[in-house]
Symmetry: C2
Subunit: 439 residues, 2 copies
Amino acid sequence: MSEHAETLSAQDVREAWPLLSVADRVEALHLLPRHVAEDLLLELPSREQAALVLTIPAEERRSWMRLLPPDDAADLIQAAPPDKREMLLSLLDDPTQKGVRGLLAYQEDEAGGLMDPRFARLRPEMTAEEAIAYLRAQPRSAFATLYYAYVLDKEQRLLGVVSFRELIAAPKEARVSDTMERNVVTVTEDMGQEKVSQLFSRSGLLAIPVVDAEKRVKGIVTIDDIVQVVNEVATEDIQKIGGSEALGEPYLNIAFGRMLKKRAGWLSALFLGEMLTATAMGFFEKEIDRAVVLALFVPLIISSGGNSGSQATSLVIRAMALGELRLRDWFRVIRRELASGAALGSILGTIGFLRIEIWQHAFHTYGEHHVLVALTVFASLIGVVTFGTLAGSLLPFVLRRLGFDPASASAPFVATLVDVTGLIIYFTTASAILRGTLL
Amino acid sequence: MSEHAETLSAQDVREAWPLLSVADRVEALHLLPRHVAEDLLLELPSREQAALVLTIPAEERRSWMRLLPPDDAADLIQAAPPDKREMLLSLLDDPTQKGVRGLLAYQEDEAGGLMDPRFARLRPEMTAEEAIAYLRAQPRSAFATLYYAYVLDKEQRLLGVVSFRELIAAPKEARVSDTMERNVVTVTEDMGQEKVSQLFSRSGLLAIPVVDAEKRVKGIVTIDDIVQVVNEVATEDIQKIGGSEALGEPYLNIAFGRMLKKRAGWLSALFLGEMLTATAMGFFEKEIDRAVVLALFVPLIISSGGNSGSQATSLVIRAMALGELRLRDWFRVIRRELASGAALGSILGTIGFLRIEIWQHAFHTYGEHHVLVALTVFASLIGVVTFGTLAGSLLPFVLRRLGFDPASASAPFVATLVDVTGLIIYFTTASAILRGTLL
């Protein structure tokens, strides 16, 4: 097969991939040249890798499992059903098996769960030449990255880091301890993956070592895993902001029933909350009966609160995820959002006031008390938008303080919260302004 | 100053950073040891770097500008006001200045705008030993990354890639052309940054070369820039999904007026759209007057449509951003979302039906025709949620087809679209079910 045809067919498989069943995928892998199939397998998310490895004939599993670096093998095993995990572990060679068992003890979303135990170690008294010769002698698969080598003392404690580049640029006789950087950026095993990814984007490093309390290096996290983490975290946040549980699988691959379950839960909970609007409306039934004109603006008023709340909550959730906002910034956010809300409310209120007066002028829709109706809408919008903005910006802080994910303060959640309050603000304002005329 | 105290004070500056004015930041940089200040500057986003460089005394600017790699210098210059750009360019040394001018010709969000022109080049006929010696002889700053070296022919066309690791593992006399991988993943200069980042996360590479139509290498994109791109793209999408323009600056840093402008635009546009609900409600004023009970469920009905639409739109927007969904998948999405919408609508409709009947049983709120009212709510919810889900999932496709960003199909946009339709569905259903009894 020519080089070109080979590339094409791998391309074809990649294109068709999302449409294929697991059985079809296994067949497709068998049709590809072995190394192309291997590349494809290595690119897949852990969940898909697990499904494939469990579907291929048992005798082929070992070679596929051994293809994976230890951190990816651990992820694959974590993605497999619990009763298959021991079998998958047994396919690995003994030292890898031991390393992977160690990794499985960590949470998937912690630095420990992201790390690769295969890092390059040097002793401080080695010369640059000895260090290069030592690293060259190791097999290609011995290290997750050769870019950095970590300098450890006899107790395996971290003394410094030296990049391969510095090593080859150094005089042959220079000691590693003189070449190394002693100020090493490290993470602890239980540091959350969002924090780890913030550290990568701030530091510009390609790998960061994971150390325990005694500064012993347990493994390294490499930047290619971080790109995936950053994408996953953003995906989860966007799905939660949209008012769903995080799907955890690609949209086109997730089984219909599983997707429905993740979407129906929040939607039903929000629906139950939203029922309070019917209760609140019932409370003002007399006012609506007397002045039906008030009912006309209910959707406009409450949706403005919901929209401004969605806006504020998504800005704050994202700023928190990026580490720009911390819990203690809550008061600065209140001040900012109070001012934003009042300004935005005034803008919308003015548009609303003008809309009613222009319509009145053109169509005489709103009766003799049109100015009072317009004033009610104007004042309510200021109140509702300010409240929506404040509620939307503070809810993520409250959730984080209570130990929940701030991204659960979804746009629909905030809208629901604001709808009920919006109705109360609107009808209370109406009562105050229209008493004696319409009400 | 001891190593420890130095680390601490850099830490202090980092902590206080978001609270400092530009003038204070310049002062803080001057108080830090030079190399610590340099590290801090290198970590900052381009916009902040530009503000700092323009604030420090003119005679200090040159050394700060020359600290930056060419791609970051280009980003800084792009972030500076147009009338300062030529001055900043003139601070660079001649060859860098030429390279940076080349980079400035590219869009910031294209591969060309992300690339670094400093890549390691080898000739195919070199031996591994010669290649290593050549690379060692270059200054540290000559390459963005030493991890990969690209093998070019005499016309600078790409023949293959060899990793530094393979080079040092190869026999000394082996030719580069025998060691290199000929199947190189490349990107074109005008490829969008989202596509580039998808390629990185699929391929697991640390750098990808940018080539022109003749396969000549123009530069390389490195993975550390991609982490930033992935984060920026997600931030923009989340801010848009929340119903705001992308802020483009950290939440706490952006000037209040600029933030307000970005938020007020969309909010006002949505408000104008939402005014149609008042028109629609006016159209059904007679029905509301006759059966005020109908008004009670208006917020519940329309918000359910909005919530299911928000959910669907954010799932689809994210799947598109990750490359899981392409334009041609629209029909599969319709089928999926039609089924989801009908199922979710039935669930909410059933809850709504039960709520009305239970309330009726307990409080006798809804009069003699309560079953018909409950049926109206049940049927409307199925219609509204199905429509909301479909509209939310298809709007991103429509926007992309028209050349807009799918993320502009924000939760509030979809909610506004669905509110008006929801009212029409609700009152039409009510007319059909309640004619002759309540209406």
